[in-house]
């Protein structure tokens, strides 16, 4: 590949040496910016940094090949105001009310202003956005949005977005990829982050990657639950990495259930289905959403924004739960309780044009062709609304450390994320993080600190100590028990008692984890060890979630309680939850104020009560 830019983004293979039989060796690399996670957010940050300062060294560290990152599975689209009749303040209001007023309103304002520009940038980089007949970008309706403003690439928006970012990143020689490198820990010294320590999964080598700034972009933690739409890699790594260094996690109690996952597998069926006019039916063929404040019923094939099937995800998932309680869901022998997502009235041509992937998935994983039959669906854990607390510039409280994407809590989503805001989020804040990190890299110098080297050795040894063939506890069993505990106590509806039980179970699982059995001592792709490391991260994140939830004695957005705290309590809880890690015992829970600029808390209303936010 002589003379081609393509060769620049090579994976780190040049340092391979003959086997030494020991993992404690630490290989050291110096760079300007280290980015952990190479999904949409990490890649966007890398691109922004490389464009701002082409001379910078950027280490792009991912535990998988970037194209495997879970951004790839996003289907529906990315929100950004582009239609002439749409307004930024409508997008703002939809987002803030969708988040049940727990959003940082200055952040939302910043976000809606930059959204369309970022999506346009993607267009200029080659993203195959779906188009209108005249060649302009098409937009579709999405839940909780008052107007059609969701840009989409059929129903593979995340895939195309990730592909475009990845391939564009190949142009930049400054971006050096560390594929299949698992980040074990952050290096923190002198009150600031100094780099990361990563395990090269293929070579079995541990590398110290010293950097002036570190950006965490590792995605969410959906895998703390058993039934979820997330890939196996979504294990909350970045959340735990920051958390263990006492960086607070914010609003972790808010976990989004997507109302339409395929039963059995949890495979995602996009909200775009409902945006295109799909309807939800209970066992009687009745559109039950009208019973839950989302009506009046709209005519089939004429979806109305913020009404019925286009309500927000928290409301739709809650409605499913009530239907289930009333015995009005369908009971499937293998899958359990389901409702039906009916697309048949859209017709084959439209389904094939707008929702081809959904058709493929429904056929493969539910044995149903949506052209001829309704798709069985049920809510599945989908998105971690909370995350590493950052400001509007993606910076965390730890100097030099940034967080972006699903692992971050910029404050954009509040208590409930609107579908199609998160793909845009990772572009808007990925860029900000990259630019900010580039700034820092310009004004900071790396010192050769032997202390860092010693710290890296200690990290390697700690990780290595997990390998314990004599352990009594099975890692898969602990993982499954965690998933079940989270579903039991921290599902769509919660009670004090249930949450406390889950908290106790997690504490017990954390104790048992210390005796986890890892028998494989080998170095090359030791996936047994990797799973155990990931489980450690999952347990810490789950603990933050349940204790944050216990502390929120109200119901808001995705956090709904069935005990004495069934309604929103702005007086006591119009504030963020901050969860701080403690070595010995549950996290310390604190609170932080919510930034309100122009939209004071109000009644959240959809359907006939809400109309479109633009009509208010």
């Amino acid at each position: 590949m002589a003379g081609q830019e393509g060769g620049a983004l090579d994976s780190a293979s040049g340092t391979d040496r003959p086997p030494s039989g020991s993992l404690s060796f630490v290989d050291s690399i110096k760079t300007d910016i280290a980015i952990v996670g190479a999904g949409g957010a990490g890649l966007r940050a890398a691109l922004a940094a490389a464009e701002a300062r082409p001379d910078l060294g950027i280490a792009l560290i991912s535990k998988v090949v970037p194209m495997r990152s879970h951004t790839v599975a996003a289907e529906g689209g990315a929100a950004g105001v582009v239609q002439a009749h749409d307004r930024l303040e409508d997008h703002f209001n939809d987002t803030v009310s969708g988040g049940d007023w727990l959003c940082e309103q200055d952040v939302v304002e910043f976000f809606v202003r930059r959204a369309a520009a970022e999506l346009t940038q993607l267009e200029h980089w080659g993203c195959p956005w779906s188009r209108q007949a005249d060649g302009r970008v098409a937009v579709r309706a999405f839940g909780g949005m008052g107007t059609e403003r969701t840009w989409y690439a059929a129903d593979k928006t995340g895939f195309h977005l990730l592909t475009t970012l990845f391939q564009t990143a190949l142009r930049h020689p400054g971006i050096r990829r560390f594929d299949e490198h698992f980040c074990l820990d952050l290096l923190v010294a002198d009150g600031r982050v100094q780099g990361v320590v990563a395990l090269d999964l293929a070579a079995g080598a541990i590398r110290l990657i010293q950097a002036k700034a570190v950006i965490l972009a590792t995605g969410g933690a959906g895998r703390v639950y058993r039934f979820n739409t997330n890939g196996g890699i979504v294990t909350g790594d970045g959340l735990a990495l920051a958390y263990r260094h006492r960086v607070p996690l914010r609003d972790m109690e808010f976990v989004q259930y997507h109302p339409t996952g395929l039963p059995g597998t949890g495979v995602l069926v996009t909200e775009g289905c409902r945006g295109e006019g799909g309807i939800l039916l209970n066992r009687d063929g009745y559109r039950y959403l009208q019973d839950y404040g989302l009506g009046p019923e709209t005519p089939i094939g004429q979806p109305r924004n913020r009404t019925m099937e286009l309500g927000p995800r928290d409301r739709l998932s809650q409605a499913f739960w009530f239907e289930q309680q009333k015995g009005r869901t369908l009971r499937h022998p293998v899958w359990g309780d389901v409702v039906q997502l009916d697309l048949r009235h859209l017709g084959e041509a439209r389904i094939d044009e707008r929702l081809p992937f959904v058709r493929e998935l429904a056929r493969a994983y539910a044995n149903v062709d949506p052209v001829h039959e309704p798709i069985p669906v049920r809510p599945a854990v989908h998105y971690t609304m909370g995350g590493i607390e950052t400001d509007c510039r993606a910076a965390t409280r730890l100097p030099g450390l940034f967080a972006v994407g699903e692992c971050a809590s910029t404050g954009l989503h509040g208590a409930n994320r609107l579908g199609s805001n998160s793909l845009t989020e990772l572009l808007v804040f990925g860029r900000v993080a990259g630019e900010e990190a580039a700034q820092i890299a310009a004004t900071t110098s790396l010192d050769a600190s032997p202390a860092l080297r010693r710290e890296a050795d200690a990290i390697a040894a700690r990780a290595r100590s997990l390998i314990n063939p004599d352990g009594q506890e099975s890692v898969p069993a602990l993982r499954d028990a965690l998933g079940e505990a989270m579903e039991a106590g921290l599902g769509i509806f919660r009670t004090e008692e249930g949450m406390q039980q889950t908290a106790d179970q997690i504490a017990s699982l954390k104790r048992r984890y210390r005796a986890a059995r890892v028998t494989d001592r080998s170095n090359v792709f030791n996936t047994e060890w990797l799973q155990a490391l990931e489980l450690g991260f999952l347990l810490d994140v789950a603990e933050a979630m349940v204790h944050s939830a216990l502390a929120r004695r109200e119901s808001r957005g995705a956090h709904h309680r069935l005990d004495a705290y069934r309604s929103r309590d702005d007086e006591r809880f119009l504030k963020h939850t901050l969860s701080r890690f403690r070595d010995d015992g549950p996290p310390e829970i604190g609170h932080a104020p919510v930034t309100i600029t122009t939209s004071p808390p109000a009644q959240r209303s959809y359907g006939g009560d809400g109309r479109g936010s633009g009509e208010r």
Partner: protein, 258 residues
Amino acid sequence: MNGTIVIEVQRYRPEQDPHPWWQAFELDYRPEMSVLDALHQIRDRHDSGLAYRWSCRMAICGSCGLMVDGVPRLGCKTFLRDYYPDRIRLGPLAHFPIERDLIVDLRDFLDKLAAVKPYLIRAAQDERPSEPRRQTPAQLARFLPFAQCISCGLCYAACPEYGLNNRFFGPAALALLHRYNRDSRDQGRAERLPTMNAEDGVWGCTFVGYCSQVCPKGVDPAAAINQGKIVSVIDYVRHLVGLSPATLGQDATQEGER
């Protein structure tokens, strides 16, 4: 209906085994189980050391490619019911070096994807960078099928020409090249021509066509490559008569905007 099924898995542990070998596992069978589910069951209940890649389990991340009875397939989209009650043999993707068990070294493949300049190349700065460019649905349709590649590597495992000569750029990389050449927004065809024209570019292909059969996303790399041969022939003739290839970039644009 729910019995057991025997799955044979090819194992190779580089620190222990001189060669790959086969190991059989008897698993609980359920008709909805995928090959990936079977691998999970083996790892969780029988042998925690079994190594394989996976993530999305919905046929979009491209991690879990492997050989199922000698055929390249995605583990998450292959179902045991299509084989039951026969035993199934699972091996690592053909033609790639085996790292361990079902994990292969894909670096050569990934390097090739990067080498075809898979990004929009423009002759000049865009006049209106703050506005999306127009592209009609027809223009979109010209390249969209070739933009569906999930880089799973199945087509390389299906391609004997790559197996015989790994300098050949191979199906996915050349399909990706074709995808950008056919994009109405791209003007970089001339820059990609040397890759196509090379001995190991489109001319490394003998149109076996198996790549297109195994592609889980319907990309049809064989069509892409063989359409590329025609482009390369035209460029060859132009080269012989002394025409500059630089003008081809514009041709591509005009063609796209017809």
